[in-house]
């Protein structure tokens, strides 16, 4: 797309009243604006597409939110703006909005025939940059490019603030992108955007303050460097300044390091707390299946990849990731996913998640810790992971991440991821993506392990079959833990610096597109999961209270309402899972449920009845544990809300299992079992 932000060009288009395609002459802007439009109503979709084409935009349309998310994840930088309907059957438009904002940070325009004030307000609070009332007139569409310009400008400004050093980093990037050359921001526009996409390594952006800001991408390599530096200094003595010096990465600021360190510490804390199931590492919960995980998955995907890339990260690192990623102090150790809290965490994403996955060790993680989630790492975790997943409801985020990216990592990882997410999610994930952990993708966890019912899962579960594919849900006792999430969406993950930050562990998942291959087919399976969702809802009823906990786990540990985006995401994720669409807090529970479902489903799916049961038990245990740990209350990261009441949950899960589509759940959700149940 050619966007020349020259003033002149703008003036042409600014006279919108008389704007006609023919007016766009010399400088093409905004012609070629790449728009993604999402609406379940085929009539509207067609009309919109035509209108947008008339405006000389490049249009891609889809009628399902999950499809949209997967498309976006696959083409991280392929779109400039998204237009979405509010009411959609598979996912609430606002959830999608959150996901997109967190993962891709694209401007999103909402639209609806509903013009009630409260709905419009909701759009605004969720971060929509505009709200159109149907029937949409072409004149309104002619102006949408302004949102793109505005957003870029703001992003660029943020970058500037974070440090001029970054500019240097950006320069090279920009050269690639010749399209954008804003008169105001000399080619820096793209920089910020590009930074997000392609660079993982030194694109540190200062994202501490803003949620939606482009996140510093803590790639796997970077994170490893960080971890190495911390280890060298000693965790107690590691101060940002020294770490920065040791790392010696140009463009990295002390603030970046400081925030990352904070997350990491949390992650570690969490890890140490959850010592039970190492296997938890399996991010089973990251049921990649749901793109809804959105944030989660993105993280996971990223992390996973990171992990994958790095190979098995030592448990330690994983733990660190988790801690870091999780950033949720509140989340009890079980919630490895503290990632959620920190949006920045996502930046870690890769590094963090990776660990989970890379680490075959998962075990550490599993221990209730969220790490389990992250662990997409070796499936051992699976049973444990489940357990851990539970904790880390949040880890789900991680898991997801892991899942996403991982895919390849290790089968274990997958399981970890899966497990982490939540047992529930597994079900989902399983359904979707037959995430055959198997080494498909070494860490392509693709979808963060939904298994843990991680919030991420939840979100993704909602229907994102595709996503699941990516993540090897393998929640189900995938001993192989290679969650290999079919991360078809993996591609997204990596890029998803999941603001959810939950992915500390999951980062491994961020394997971009690694999963894809497998995932796609698997994801389809996810369709099967849907039923699990449903089931879960029932389950959730059983234990509403658990959700609180769960939410924590699930929602990546987002500080509950802190980062609206994140929390929303989390919530949405959670909700998604529970298909309850309630974004706030309430969702959490649903997410939890869904996650549990996954795990349950996953477990079953794999046909490892035993494992499954074990996992389920683990999950249940985990859930219970989670509850007791009280982790959940605060952090949305309760990814593992799975605590529903073991019996109920188990029962429900088991029941679901049967009904769950036989998605080849390779998810190694088994890892969930905190109790180290052999997968």
């Amino acid at each position: 797309m050619k966007f020349s932000c020259g003033r002149g060009a703008m003036s042409i288009t600014s006279s919108s009243a008389a704007w006609k395609p023919t007016d766009v002459v010399a400088d093409q802007f905004p012609a070629g604006l790449r728009v993604l439009v999402v609406d379940d109503d085929p009539t509207c979709l067609m009309i919109l597409e035509k209108m947008l084409r008339t405006c000389l935009y490049e249009v891609t349309k889809c009628n399902r939110a999950e499809t949209a998310l997967s498309i976006l994840r696959e083409n991280k930088n392929g779109f400039d703006i998204v237009i979405s309907d509010v009411h959609m059957p598979d996912m609430d438009g606002f959830k999608l909005l959150e996901h997109i904002g967190l993962e891709m940070d694209l401007p999103v325009i909402m639209m609806s025939a509903d013009d009630g004030k409260h709905v419009v307000m909701k759009g605004v609070t969720h971060g929509a940059c505009d709200y159109l009332i149907k029937p949409v007139r072409i004149e309104a569409l002619k102006n949408i490019w302004q949102h793109v310009v505005r957003k870029r400008k703001n992003e660029w400004k943020d970058f500037e603030q974070s440090g001029s050093v970054e500019e240097g980093d950006r320069q090279p990037k920009q050269s690639e992108d010749a399209d954008y050359s804003s008169s105001a921001n000399e080619g820096n526009w793209r920089g910020s955007k590009k930074r997000k996409d392609d660079e993982e390594e030194t694109d540190e952006r200062d994202d501490t303050s803003t949620l939606k800001k482009p996140r510093v991408v803590w790639s796997v390599e970077l994170h490893q460097q960080f971890v190495a530096a911390v280890n060298q200094l000693g965790i107690d003595k590691a101060v940002p300044k020294k770490i920065l010096e040791l790392m010696n990465v140009p463009g990295l600021t002390r603030e970046n390091v400081a925030s990352h360190l904070q997350k990491y510490r949390l992650y570690l804390r969490r890890l140490s707390g959850v010592s039970q199931h190492q296997s938890n590492l399996n991010p089973p919960f990251i049921s990649p299946q749901d793109s809804t995980f959105g944030p989660l998955s993105s993280l996971n995907g990223l992390d996973l990849q990171a992990l994958a890339a790095t190979g098995q990260l030592p448990t330690q690192s994983f733990a660190r990731l988790q801690a870091a990623g999780l950033g949720r102090p509140t989340a009890k150790s079980s919630i490895p996913m503290t990632l959620v809290d920190q949006r920045n965490i996502f930046s870690f994403e890769n590094p963090k998640l990776r660990f989970g996955e890379g680490q075959q060790q998962q075990q550490h993680m599993n221990n209730k810790q969220q790490i389990n989630l992250l662990n997409g790492i070796p499936t051992n975790m699976e049973p444990r992971q489940l357990a851990s997943l539970q904790h880390g409801g949040q880890s789900i985020g991680n898991m997801n991440m892991q899942v996403a990216s991982h895919g390849a990592q290790n089968n274990q990882n997958n399981s970890l991821l899966m497990q982490m997410g939540q047992p529930q999610s597994r079900g989902q994930i399983l359904g979707d993506t037959t995430v055959s952990h198997s080494p498909r993708r070494p860490s392509s966890m693709g979808q963060p392990i939904l298994s843990n019912g991680m919030a991420a899962n939840v979100a993704s579960r909602n229907g994102i079959p595709e996503t699941i594919g990516a993540t090897s849900y393998n929640p189900v006792s995938q001993a192989t833990s290679t969650l290999n999430f079919p991360m078809n969406h993996a591609s997204e993950l990596p890029g998803n610096s999941f603001p959810l930050g939950s992915t500390p562990g999951i980062s491994s998942f961020s394997s971009k597109g690694t999963f894809q291959e497998d995932v796609s087919s698997e994801i389809k399976g996810s369709g099967g999961f849907m039923p699990s969702y449903v089931k879960f809802n029932d389950l959730s009823q059983h234990k509403p209270q658990n959700w609180e906990l769960q939410n924590v786990g699930m929602t990546f540990n987002f500080p509950q309402h802190s980062s609206s985006l994140q929390s929303n995401l989390m919530q949405s994720v959670l909700v998604q899972q529970g298909s309850s669409g309630q974004m706030n807090g309430h969702n959490r529970s649903s997410a939890v449920v869904s996650r549990a479902m996954f795990s349950a489903g996953d477990i079953k799916e794999h046909g490892n009845a035993q494992n499954v049961n074990q996992h389920l038990n683990n999950l249940v245990d985990n859930i219970i544990r989670v509850k007791s740990e009280g982790v959940f209350d605060t952090s949305p990261g309760n990814l593992f809300p799975v605590h529903f009441g073991q019996e109920d949950l188990m029962g429900a899960l088991l029941k679901q299992q049967d009904s769950i589509a036989p998605t080849e759940n390779e998810f190694d959700f088994d890892g969930y079992s905190k109790d180290n149940i052999p997968v």
Binding site: T43, M51, H87, A113, P135
Partner: protein, 153 residues
């Protein structure tokens, strides 16, 4: 019939339609149509028909249940409202608005009545649109082109 004559008929008919039934959307729709997409209006309108029929069927079924799920009904109506407004079926849309209000009150009788009303409006507009399309097709078959209608709004 001569092409010019047909075209005149079409223009008049469309204007009437616009006045009575459809909003400016229908004209917008026509304007969207061009050489590269000559069947645009036909496609969209057909899509609208199919989609709406399905929605109406779903609505009938949903309201026929012993325990009516009003949320579902509301979702369907909302969708119908959106698509009908996009295509310009103003009266259908208004009927939908009323329908939704009764849905909120969970008033079965009223909603059933509303459903009838919506169906009625829908068939009316369907009839009109089909006539419009037929006119257009006749013109095209005779070698003429669809005149652009400037409504001046």
């Amino acid at each position: 019939m001569e092409v010019a004559q047909m075209q005149r008929r079409l223009v008049d008919y469309t204007k009437t339609l616009f006045m009575e039934f459809l909003g400016c959307s229908v004209l917008q729709l026509q304007q969207l149509q061009d050489e590269s997409n000559p069947d645009f209006v036909v496609e969209v309108v057909s899509l609208f028909f199919d989609d709406s029929e399905k929605l109406l069927n779903d609505l009938s079924t949903a309201l026929d249940q012993p325990n009516v799920d009003f949320k579902k009904v509301d979702a369907h109506v909302h969708q119908l409202k959106g698509s009908s407004s996009s295509i310009g079926a103003q009266r259908v849309k208004d009927a939908c608005v009323t329908f939704r209000n009764f849905c909120e009150e969970q008033n079965i009788d009223a909603t059933l009545r509303c459903l009838q009303q919506v169906k009625h409006e829908y068939y009316l507009v369907k009839n009109k649109l089909e006539t419009l399309l037929r006119l257009e097709q006749q013109i095209m078959a005779a070698g003429g082109s669809i005149p652009m209608i400037e409504m001046g709004f």
